[in-house]
């Protein structure tokens, strides 16, 4: 308590500081008077008495200051003095202050902008109750595999989830939700057309565990998640607003979701985008119990060996997470042994990690980690360049104010005080600059997010500055302030008063410009590194987009569709597909049309084990696709051997044929002609199912970065009657995409395609029409973003170092004005003067380039995994960066040089 009272007293003293000072003064005066009176009574003259009293008392001013320091506020006082003084000085030189703030705003803004993004993507909590108490079972980023062999175990089957939920009392609640989910056709009862919206299956207690309350109506409860319970759904606030205009009658209304009738019972809270962070968050949440009814025989829920759910939970207070984790893993091992067949060592590898789950599950986090780190490195470099730049500016200014600081030193200011003064000034500057940078970042983050979330319907990210962003900016600002203030501060404190005062009134010539030059060289070097990185990213993006994809990207359009054709007879499907094909070809501008299970670049893929007729023991596998006969023509792939599919020959019921890609042929028939060979999906009994009739070139199918892999194509609907009975196999005949080859860019293509597809069958919903170049761009969204940002930062670095070079050259010209005047007077031509000035700039630029090239080579290794089709130490990129930098910096130096050549010798000589 003592210290508390003491602090209270101190604060009281601070608040009534004037009173205390007056009292102290009065007290001391009183002391002196008493002493003087006593002296006088001893027979001194009044004057003598006063003097004697003062002698005895000591230095009153010093003692008063000493007393004040007893209150402990001196440092505080001095600080405010420094701040006031700094503000005065800064407002006195407006152009310097403005330049500095702009430079800082750019440097700090780049960092803040990127941090906002990183924070939003990687660190931010979900808008749920107490996100910090939510844990996730499993830390894998696997979204869509269905097997149990996961290693970092994070996907659960419904039955295993229920087993854990009911047998782990350490959890207050445990909820499960579908990991890989997507668009399905949704139609409100009474409406003609259905739309493609995102649906996710969640456990009945999902919203309870998250602690969410309905915006309208109610959210689902465990009772909804029972076999036989009435089918209900919760709609997201966003979908409610965007699709149905916030119509209150949506609550309680009947909908058909993927052909399945449900009643919407409520609207989720506005900020809630689900627990999986992605660009197309769920529009509807359905209880897991409804899944079998929706998917029929291909249900995920019913099969205890299909792992498709993420699980999160809330631990009871006071429970040790490590104990719970150990318990969960024991349960996992038991469960796997009882329910799965597999090698014991594979089983033993499975492990559940208990990790914080409050920020949701994000593949983005994993995907972007490396790239964001790279960008963070780049923005840090930009900030460093900005700091070096400002340090230079300050040094130049320090030279101007050198006389002033020598006067201060001469008057007894301590070195420490001088350094502090400069630092306070630079920190104030950088905080103002940081505030401006914050504004820049806030305004530009919309742009940034557009880049990152290209082609997505919604951005689950809020860019309003959060406290974390504010703190980050403040921290960066202060750090930057110290960084760029330190060199000038030390330089100032070294000023020797005597030499400065002697030359008072004249310019401070002869001061070494070495620190400035070093800083400039550093700036240029860092810029080279940044520009090289930017060049590399641009080149790798170009490589990715312009590489051979095995098909003609331009002019191809894919319409993703949701077809609920489960249970349709093959004949009905054939008629439907023929109808679609005809309707598509009727649209003006459409040259060719094809139907496919998967479209290229849609990211989807179906891999299966196959058995070759001639090598039945070979453990073979391949990716496959079902397509309509015109598929290869439509996407522009080339048949290398044999033939493609033929509408008239390859019909349901005729010989089952297949076209394999080059990679397939090379992998499974390395030294023979594959035409005529047979293989089948599955085991030995299927070995003769399909006959190879053609080889098509390898198409990059799933991802731009992924080279061709074995793939085979089957004609749609060509299937044995036995296979039609297998619901999973039958589903492969249900198309997922309609592909078009169009001429030019037909107007109204979207609406025409949507209209024609929408009117074919009530169960067919057109989801999204995207051109393949756009699909590709979306697939490469990350690369686009990184490349664009890298270029922005590179240009920023270029601008900053040019400004720096300009400033320094300009400054050195102003310092050498008299020298230049003298030279001109002695007959130097303008050309010679320009060369003289440029010489310095060229030397520094060359030194910077040399250091920068070395730096680029060193950092190149960090980029190895990020670039595509280009060496990180690509000489072309480095040379390009050097050339660009050299050109720009020479231009920047030329301006002051030209100005120098116009120096009038008469004027300079007169002032000398």
């Amino acid at each position: 308590m003592r210290w508390f009272r003491e602090i209270r007293r101190r604060i009281a003293m601070l608040r009534h500081r004037e009173d205390f000072e007056r009292e102290l003064d009065a007290e001391m005066r009183c002391h002196l008077e008493l002493q003087a009176e006593e002296n006088e009574s001893r027979g001194m003259s009044p004057r003598e008495a006063r003097w004697a009293a003062q002698r005895q008392f000591g230095n009153a001013a010093l003692l008063a200051e000493d007393s004040r320091s007893a209150w402990g506020w001196t440092a505080f006082d001095n600080f405010f003095q420094d701040v006031r003084y700094a503000i005065r000085r800064l407002s006195a030189s407006k152009s310097y202050t403005l330049t500095a703030i702009v430079i800082l705003a750019l440097g700090i803004g780049a960092n803040t902008g990127l941090f906002t993004l990183m924070h939003a993507v990687m660190l931010k909590s979900l808008p749920i109750a107490d996100p910090e108490t939510v844990v996730r079972l499993g830390d894998g980023d696997n979204c869509c595999g269905l097997g149990w062999q996961q290693g970092r175990y994070s996907l659960f089957s419904d039955s295993f989830y229920k087993h854990l939920r009911d047998h782990t009392p350490d959890f207050e609640g445990m909820a499960a939700f579908q990991a890989g989910f997507g668009r399905v056709g949704v139609r409100r009862a009474g409406m003609e057309v259905s739309e493609g919206l995102v649906r996710q299956f969640v456990s009945g207690n999902y919203f309870e565990v998250l602690g969410l309350r309905a915006y309208a109506g109610r959210l689902t409860v465990p009772a909804d998640d029972q076999q036989g319970a009435p089918a209900v759904a919760v709609i997201s606030y966003r979908a409610w607003q965007q699709q149905y205009g916030g119509d209150p009658s949506v609550v309680g209304a009947a909908f058909t979701i993927e052909g399945f009738p449900v009643t919407v019972v409520g609207v989720a809270p506005p900020a809630f985008f689900g627990t999986v962070v992605r660009t197309d968050p769920p529009d509807f949440w359905l209880p897991i119990a409804t899944e079998p009814a929706v998917h029929g025989g291909t249900s995920l829920q019913a099969d205890r060996r299909l792992h498709w759910l993420y699980v999160i939970g809330r631990l009871r207070p006071g429970v040790q997470a490590s104990n719970v984790e150990a318990g969960l893993n024991v349960k996992l091992q038991t469960w796997l042994r009882e329910n799965e067949q597999g090698k014991t060592e594979d089983l033993a590898k499975q492990h559940i990690a208990l990790v914080p789950g409050g920020s949701g599950i994000s593949q983005m986090r994993e995907r972007y980690r490396q790239e964001l780190t790279l960008l963070l490195g780049m923005t840090t470099l930009v900030l460093l360049i900005a700091c070096a730049n400002l340090a230079n500016l300050q040094l130049a200014r320090g030279a101007v104010t050198a006389t002033q600081s020598s006067v201060r030193v001469a008057l007894g200011a301590s070195r420490y005080r001088l350094i502090r003064q400069v630092l306070v000034e630079s920190i104030i500057l950088s905080i103002v600059g940081g505030a401006a940078g914050m504004f820049v970042a806030w305004q530009s983050s919309g742009l940034l997010i557009q880049l990152v979330f290209r082609g997505s319907s919604v951005v689950p990210i809020d860019t309003t500055p959060s406290p974390a962003v504010l703190w980050f900016t403040l921290g960066v600002s202060v750090l930057a302030g110290i960084l760029f203030g330190l060199v000038p501060a030390l330089a100032t404190s070294r000023s020797s008063p005597s030499s400065m005062l002697r030359s008072l009134g004249r310019s401070a010539t002869g001061r070494s410009m070495r620190p400035q030059r070093v800083l400039l060289v550093a700036q240029i070097a860092l810029s080279v590194v940044l520009l090289t990185a930017a060049g590399l990213m641009a080149q790798s993006l170009r490589n990715l987009t312009s590489q051979g994809f095995g098909f003609q990207v331009d002019g191809a359009v894919s319409a993703a569709v949701d077809a609920n054709f489960g249970g349709y007879a093959p004949e009905k499907l054939a008629a439907l597909y023929a109808d679609i094909d005809r309707r598509m070809r009727d649209i003006p501008g459409v040259r060719n049309a094809a139907l496919a299970l998967y479209a290229p670049m849609s990211g989807d893929n179906w891999g299966m084990n196959i058995t070759l007729e001639e090598k039945p023991l070979l453990e073979a596998g391949s990716s496959w696709n079902r397509v309509s006969p015109s598929f290869f023509d439509t996407i522009g792939a080339r048949i290398l051997r044999g033939r493609g599919f033929d509408e008239t020959v390859d019909r349901p019921g005729s010989t089952a044929v297949t076209v394999v890609n080059e990679e397939f042929a090379k992998t499974w028939f390395p030294h023979e002609d594959p035409i005529g060979k047979r293989f089948g999906i599955g085991g030995y009994e299927n070995r003769g199912d399909y006959m190879i009739v053609g080889v098509v070139n390898s198409i990059r199918f799933r991802r731009p970065r992924q080279p061709g892999y074995p793939m085979f194509f089957l004609p749609l609907l060509q299937m044995s009657p036995a296979d039609w009975k297998d619901e999973v196999k039958a589903r492969s005949n249900v198309i997922g995409s309609v592909l078009l080859r169009v001429e030019g860019s037909p107007r109204d293509l979207v609406s025409q395609v949507t209209r024609s597809l929408g009117s074919v069958d009530p169960n067919l919903t057109p989801l999204k029409l995207t051109s393949l170049p756009e699909l590709l761009a979306q697939q490469l969204g990350q690369e686009h973003t990184i490349s664009a940002l890298a270029q922005v930062f590179g240009v920023l670095a270029l601008i900053l170092s040019c400004v720096g070079l300009y400033g320094l050259t300009d400054y050195s010209v102003s310092q050498r004005r008299s020298e230049i005047g003298m030279r001109t007077a002695l007959g130097a031509t303008r050309q010679q003067v320009v060369l003289l000035v440029l010489k310095g700039a060229v030397t520094q630029t060359a030194a910077g380039l040399a250091v920068g090239v070395v730096g680029s080579l060193v950092t190149a290794r960090l980029l190895t995994t990020l670039v595509y089709g280009v060496q990180p130490s690509d000489p072309l990129s480095i040379a390009g960066a050097c050339v660009v930098l050299a050109l720009f910096s020479l231009t920047a130096a030329l301006l002051p040089a030209l100005r120098a050549s116009h120096v009038d010798p008469a004027v300079t000589l007169r002032t000398e």
């Binding site: 007293r9 007290e27 002391h31 002493q35 005895q56 230095n59 003692l63 004040r68 209150w71």
Partner: protein, 97 residues
Amino acid sequence: MLVLKTIRRFGPSHGYSIAKAIQQASDEVLQVEEGSLYPALQRMLVKGWVTAEWVQAGPKRQTRVYHLTTLGMEQLDAEISAYRRIAQAIERVIEPA
């Protein structure tokens, strides 16, 4: 310590009288700058060992009078005993000579 002791001995007193009292008590051995008393007093105010109040002293003059607080008493006792210990120790060291 001396300041505290003086206040304890003579009761509430003002700066001048404390200075004089210390000088007299020490037979003018301790001749310090009288002014240095004031920083010391300020420190004690902050620590809460003494409190101060203004009193009328004579027709035209106000002086600040310092009182010892309980906290100040404790502090003084502690310092005196600490001083005694050291003094005794020194005494014992130089005794045999």
